[in-house]
């Protein structure tokens, strides 16, 4: 009997611990990274490996990893440690001082600049490192080919009137008429950008969208769901989804997202991608960012499916 009692205790505690551990983990994810901030302050000495902590935008994470990998060949003594999670995570890390470079697929809000200034004494420094064409994805069997910003807004906005595919004039094979809205978690840079340019700055999203935790998850879910529509970076396009052409106004010119249409600004929902450092970066970080802005660094932007900065 005592053995059984022990087992019960263990199980009972473990049930409690599941919740507790979940909370702790969530709480620790911030303080964890605070231990490794040394990279910013350490002076790089000869022969020693210096590390750069690079946290943030999920849209940019593939790109940031490609950069980090290529940079090991340029400067073997520097290791760049990239982690994603979302622009919100990067900006939180920037404010809390737990990263050297924060990636963000949106510009800092004035309020965030203030917070950063209060914490570190100077304004964060902004580097524009490329563009991303935010693409609208549907399932390949969906007959729809183009959509306007107004229609997208009606689909996604709180109080918007479109929630059936038939309202857009298409009938899906299989007969499901409901539009399955796929969106992002509410602190993602992509979510913020989409809200600002499509849904309306002062409006909110319609509740009941499937809020995915990563750019890739959006494309993944759309590819498996015939009635779905979703938005995500062009770099995440796969063969299992269809990219819609987008127009500013209904009936206006519908534009395919691509490098030229992003650079000439004819594609309406393209956005710059940023890297932020808390104040003037130390030399090894500055060198890394300088390298990203060279032709070699910008070539990687294009190879990863994003849009490089226009050549000077």
């Amino acid at each position: 009997m005592t053995k059984n009692t022990h087992l019960k205790w263990v199980l009972r505690l473990s049930a409690l611990a599941t919740l507790a551990a979940g909370l702790l983990l969530a709480g620790c994810s911030k303080s964890d990274s605070s231990g490794s901030t040394g990279g910013g302050g350490d002076k790089p000495s000869a022969g020693e490996k210096t590390s750069i902590q690079n946290i943030g935008s999920d849209t940019m994470v593939n790109l940031a990893q490609a950069w980090a990998e290529a940079y090991t060949k340029v400067a073997p003594s520097v290791s760049v440690e990239v982690s994603g999670g979302g622009s919100g995570i990067g900006i939180a890390a920037l404010i809390n001082g737990t990263c050297d470079i924060a990636n963000s697929s949106r510009q800092l809000e004035p309020e965030e600049v203030e917070k950063c200034k209060a914490k570190h004494g100077h304004e964060p420094k902004e580097f524009m490192v490329g563009y991303d064409a935010l693409s609208v994805y549907v399932h390949p069997t969906n007959p729809l080919n183009e959509i306007s910003i107004e229609e997208l807004s009606e689909i996604y906005r709180e109080g918007g009137k479109i929630d059936k595919w038939s309202q857009l004039g298409v009938t899906l094979p299989g007969g499901n008429d409901d539009i399955i809205r796929v969106s992002r978690q509410n602190n993602s840079g992509t979510y913020h950008y989409f809200r600002e340019t499509v849904v309306g700055k002062k409006s909110d999203f319609k509740l009941g969208s499937r809020d995915m935790n990563g750019s890739k998850d959006v494309v993944e879910l759309v590819s498996r769901t015939p009635g779905a529509i979703g938005y995500s970076g062009l770099g995440y396009a796969t063969k299992q989804v269809k990219i819609l052409k987008v127009a500013r106004k209904k009936g206006g010119p519908y534009v395919q997202p691509s490098i030229p249409t992003t650079l000439d600004k004819s594609y309406p929902i393209a956005r710059p991608m940023f890297m932020y450092t808390p104040g003037q970066p130390p030399p090894h970080v500055q060198k890394y960012i300088d390298w990203i802005l060279t032709e070699a660094g910008q070539k990687i932007v294009e190879e990863s499916g994003y849009v490089p900065l226009p050549k000077k």
């Binding site: 009997m1 059984n4 087992l7 019960k8 199980l11 009972r12 505690l13 049930a15 409690l16 599941t18 919740l19 507790a20 979940g22 909370l23 702790l24 969530a26 709480g27 994810s29 911030k30 999670g85 979302g86 919100g88 995570i89 900006i91 939180a92 404010i95 809390n96 965030e112 917070k115 499901n176 409901d178 399955i180 978690q185 509410n186 602190n187 993602s188 913020h192 809200r195 700055k201 002062k202 409006s203 909110d204 509740l207 009941g208 969208s209 499937r210 809020d211 995915m212 935790n213 993944e220 879910l221 498996r224 769901t225 015939p226 009635g227 779905a228």
Partner: protein
């Protein structure tokens, strides 16, 4: 007679005793420390927020530029709906398996089954979530012809599979605790095995079985990763098992990492933590009291 102990042995004995006691107390300390931490982070919001609105409205717009609204009604309903459906699936399976393992199967089958069930408990929840996202999503879409497979049913099936091991092992324990004299008496009266289980064993073990189920509920309420991936993560009051929902735990997991420390959003997430803590605490306490009830008998 053994020789008198050397002083060093006495000290070592005392030291070890102290260490073991510390281990025992530490569990309690940890629970209280966690509760204290969660409460400290969440409490400042209690004064600022209308609790009725927090609990009973369903507009969850924590990052709205227009007007931030923190209503977790839909999230509570989401958690409850997934947990309830999970228990409807898990309880018959779990209790059935416990009865089979304890009463019906041979020694070898019993060992094999117990090992397999323990293995089921060892699968990490993120793996369950992945199965939900890739396999079950498509299966549910095909079988039920619904537009999206990430929904209450998907998550409930996963949670059921995750809580069955707990229900089985504790359920089996409580069946084993029924004295053999009951079984002998039943058989002597000419009971069939079914009558024995239904009329004698289940009533005798009912408290233990109830505790097993409640612990399963605790597991299901607290689960995060699998439900984050399988529910569709959509703020929504479900009208059928094929609607997507969002749970309290998944909301914390998805959003806490991105809030800046001390912001309203951050504190509200901890308030959700307090809510969850209270729910699991109540469930565990009930289970505890029920188990105590058995012991007194």
């Amino acid at each position: 007679m053994r020789a008198q102990r050397r002083p060093i042995e006495v000290i070592a004995e005392k030291g070890i005793e102290f260490l073991i006691r510390l281990c025992g107390i530490s569990a309690i300390l940890f629970v209280f420390a966690i509760f204290f931490f969660v409460f400290r982070e969440g409490a400042p919001m209690l004064g600022k927020i209308d609790l009725g609105k927090f609990l009973f409205t369903q507009t969850w717009y924590p990052t709205s530029l227009n007007q931030a609204r923190y209503g977790v009604g839909a999230l509570i309903v989401g958690t409850l709906s997934v947990t309830t459906l999970a228990m409807f699936i898990a309880v018959p399976f779990g209790v059935g398996a416990a009865i089979f393992v304890s009463e019906f199967c041979g020694r070898k089958t019993k060992e094999a089954l117990k090992i397999t069930i323990e293995l089921l408990a060892a699968i990490p929840s993120v793996v369950w979530g992945f199965i939900g996202l890739t396999v079950m999503n498509v299966v549910i879409q095909k079988v039920f012809n619904v537009p999206v497979g990430l929904n209450v049913l998907n998550a409930a099936i996963l949670l059921a599979l995750m809580s069955v091991p707990i229900i089985v092992s504790i359920g089996e324990d409580s069946l084993k605790a029924v004295p053999d004299s009951y079984r002998e008496a039943g058989l002597a009266l000419g009971c069939t095995r079914w009558q024995l289980v239904w009329r004698v064993l289940l009533p005798a073990a009912k408290n233990g079985l109830l505790a097993a189920v409640l612990l399963g509920v605790g597991r299901a309420v607290g689960e995060t990763m699998a439900v984050l991936m399988a529910t569709g993560h959509s703020v929504n009051i479900p009208h059928s098992v094929f609607d997507s929902v969002r749970t309290l735990t998944a909301t914390i997991a998805a959003e806490l990492g991105e809030t800046s420390e001390g912001s309203d959003h951050y504190r509200v997430l901890f308030l959700i933590g307090i809510l969850l803590f209270s729910i699991t605490f109540a469930v565990n306490l009930t289970a505890d009291l029920i188990v105590k009830g058995i012991r007194k008998k």
